[in-house]
């Protein structure tokens, strides 16, 4: 894990910090189901495990570049500068939430911080990100769009149609496939023809004659280097690339789906809960990107133990504040509901 060109020590520490912040935020979301049952409604999906991919990719950003992921969307805006208070308040359905309580966990949006919004319908966000890249191209803004989606989403027609159109129009976009081996409760071996044949999912890029690369999604520096190349390609008007980043998510797909008043909660990861593969999940935990990156930064003396601890404590305090802020925020007034239908 060599220090990559263009990544200063400060930047590496920034990356570690962002990873820790995401993890802490997600763990607070998850704990809410236990500590404040009933506060989070609907379906909530966490990004723990994805930190190296999210941060490694977004570390290559220039100022105005946009990030456009799927409904599993908590990690990205944290890196882009969205206040966690507002995010947590949104997830709790509060008035002070990022979207005033209209969107919830699956639909965070913060256009001011380069995060135009998300869709909960698999694959459709890929078309939206491709459209954002059209805007960048038509307006000649020099922006690159970072489009994130799951392995499952690559089974949707929307994925294929978008990549072909993006390639034909040479749009400034990087398609980042987060292969966490599962779509909800289904292992990728049950639904992906490439995987079944022993091929990487990045092979799908062949269908569009664009670069397709697979990278270890638990290593932020490898992700950084790989995405960097794709971003350069996109920014120099050569068109999109497909990057497959492989990692395990570390929580279940989402909270268990129940009908009120049965309370929602987080089950165990599907590897264990559904397939009984304890060893698979243990290996994933062992491969957790955060302790790995921490150890490497310590080893390279980029980070001291004290720095690391301070970063972790700061993140804890920040997210504790977010939780308290969100809990204190009132629910929206019901008659607000008729707002925002039309512009």
């Amino acid at each position: 894990m060599a220090k990559k060109k263009g990544l200063t020590a400060d930047r590496l520490i920034w990356m570690y910090t962002q990873m820790v912040r995401i993890r802490e935020f997600e763990s607070r979301v998850k704990r809410t189901f236990v500590e404040h049952p009933g506060v989070i409604r609907g379906h909530t999906h966490l990004g723990d495990g994805a930190e190296a991919t999210i941060v490694g990719a977004l570390a290559t950003r220039q100022d105005d570049d946009l990030a456009m992921p799927s409904y599993r969307c908590h990690g990205y805006p944290l890196v882009l500068g969205t206040p966690p208070r507002k995010m947590m308040a949104e997830i709790y359905g509060r008035k002070d939430g990022l979207c005033g309580g209209f969107g919830g966990s699956m639909h965070l949006a913060d256009p001011e911080h380069h995060f135009p919004g998300t869709s909960g319908i698999i694959g459709q966000a890929i078309t939206h990100a491709t459209g954002a890249a059209l805007t960048a191209q038509v307006k000649d803004t020099g922006q690159v769009i970072y489009c994130f989606f799951g392995d499952g989403a690559t089974k949707q027609g929307a994925f294929f149609e978008s990549l072909n159109l993006g390639a034909v129009w040479k749009l400034p976009i990087v398609y980042i496939l987060e292969n966490n081996y599962y779509q909800a409760y289904t292992h990728v071996s049950l639904e992906d023809a490439n995987y079944i044949a022993g091929d990487p999912l990045s092979k799908k890029a062949q269908a569009f004659s664009i670069p397709g690369v697979t990278v270890d999604g638990t290593d932020p520096l490898k992700v950084y280097a790989t995405v960097q190349k794709a971003v350069e390609r996109a920014r120099s008007e050569k068109g999109p690339s497909l990057i497959e980043a492989k990692f395990h998510r570390l929580s279940a797909h989402g909270n268990a789906i129940t009908v009120p008043p049965v309370p929602t909660q987080f089950p165990e990861h599907e590897a264990v809960e559904v397939y009984g593969k304890k060893a698979e999940f243990a290996a994933a935990i062992k491969n957790d990107p955060i302790p790995k990156f921490r150890a490497s930064l310590l080893r390279k003396r980029i980070l001291t133990k004290e720095d690391a601890q301070r970063i972790e404590e700061k993140a804890r305090a920040e997210m504790e504040d977010a939780v308290q802020f969100a809990l204190a925020s009132p629910l929206p007034a019901e008659a607000e509901a008729v707002k925002h239908v039309y512009a």
Binding site: R94, H107, Q156, T186, V259, P260, A333, E336, A337
Partner: protein, 326 residues
């Protein structure tokens, strides 16, 4: 012989019984039968019970192709809104192939999906889309409101030689009710009077039947007798039973979880308007969702959806009105 069963269980029971009866019935969808422990898989084998990729267009289109060549597929689509990515198959393929072939093929399949999950699922997972399927010749639509209907309509849907959209309501999943054991078929196009009454007719489907019955209870306490009619299938629609009730009561309140213009309520109101419009004692009244997407936060969500109070208020308003002067 009836047994207490949950609505969700009753659906599964119907599928299992029909798969037992007819080896042409196959069952597939996303996130089901993941492991060999799956009870359907164990019982019917991996040819007939399959996990499908997240590919609604292929899933639904494959069902159409399988149906015209001799299978009777049931596709588990989970949330009815997911069908929108493949709506062509529902609107423009499954119901049209028979007609376009001049009656040479038939398309027996069931698209099964839940809907109306009013529990914080927000703007894209809890709307109602059945209105968009109404009036599509060749298609049938079932919306059970009780465990018994859930079983009987699913069995009838599987046996039907036409494409059927079977929409079960998520909020009813755990609701219990008596369900006939063994063969139990609820015929399509036959509305059910869920409660008899004489002052006003309330028409509702799915979860709204439950809400309407609760409203009728409240009204009864005030001496108002409401009849609650559940069409059970939107296509075919049993206008006759509703008309009969309206002839008796002279007043009609239509309850629908969808928005005003995207509701079965409006379609039924139109039918009644044409068949009996100016003979009502008061104009019909629709109780629907407000014209918004479904918001995430609980008070917002509650505010936009129909509920007992809104139904009670609507009933009172139609009772308050006299025959308007011409």
């Amino acid at each position: 012989m009836a047994r207490e069963m949950m609505y969700g269980e009753a659906i599964a029971a119907a599928i299992a019984e029909e798969m037992e009866r007819d080896s042409n019935v196959v069952f597939y969808g996303q996130n089901l039968a993941m492991t060999e422990r799956d009870p359907f898989l164990r019982r019917f084998g991996k040819k007939r019970v399959r996990i499908a990729p997240i590919s609604e267009t292929a899933e639904m289109g494959v069902a159409v192709g399988a149906a015209i060549t001799g299978l009777r597929p049931i596709v588990e689509l989970w949330m009815s809104e997911f069908m929108l990515v493949a709506f062509d198959e529902l609107i423009n393929e499954a119901p049209r192939l028979r007609y376009m072939s001049g009656g040479q093929v038939k398309v027996p399949l069931v698209f099964k999906a839940g809907y109306g999950f009013a529990a914080g699922w927000a703007g894209q997972h809890s709307n109602c889309v059945y209105h968009a399927m109404m009036g599509i010749p060749g298609l049938k639509i079932a919306l059970p409101s009780t465990a018994a209907d859930a079983k009987g309509l699913m069995a009838a849907a599987i046996r039907d030689d036409n494409p059927v959209v079977y929409l079960h309501h998520y909020m009813l999943t755990l609701d219990k009710g008596p369900v006939p054991e063994g063969e139990h078929l609820v015929p399509f196009g036959v509305a059910d009077v869920k409660r008899e009454g004489s002052d006003v007719t309330i028409v509702a489907t799915g979860w709204m039947v439950k809400k309407s019955l609760a409203a009728a209870e409240l009204l009864a306490k005030e001496g108002i007798s409401a009849e609650v009619v559940d069409p059970r299938t939107l296509t075919p629609l049993d206008v006759g039973t509703i008309l009969k009730s309206v002839k008796k009561t002279g007043r009609l309140v239509l309850v629908d979880q969808g928005t005003r213009h995207a509701s079965a309520a409006a379609i039924i109101a139109a039918e009644i308007a044409e068949h009996r419009g100016n003979a009502l004692k008061a104009p019909v009244k629709m109780v629907t969702a407000l014209d918004t997407s479904i918001p995430f936060s609980e008070p917002l969500e509650n505010y936009v959806l129909p509920n007992e109070e809104k139904i009670v208020a609507a009933v009172k308003s139609v009772l308050a009105q006299q025959l308007a002067a011409v």
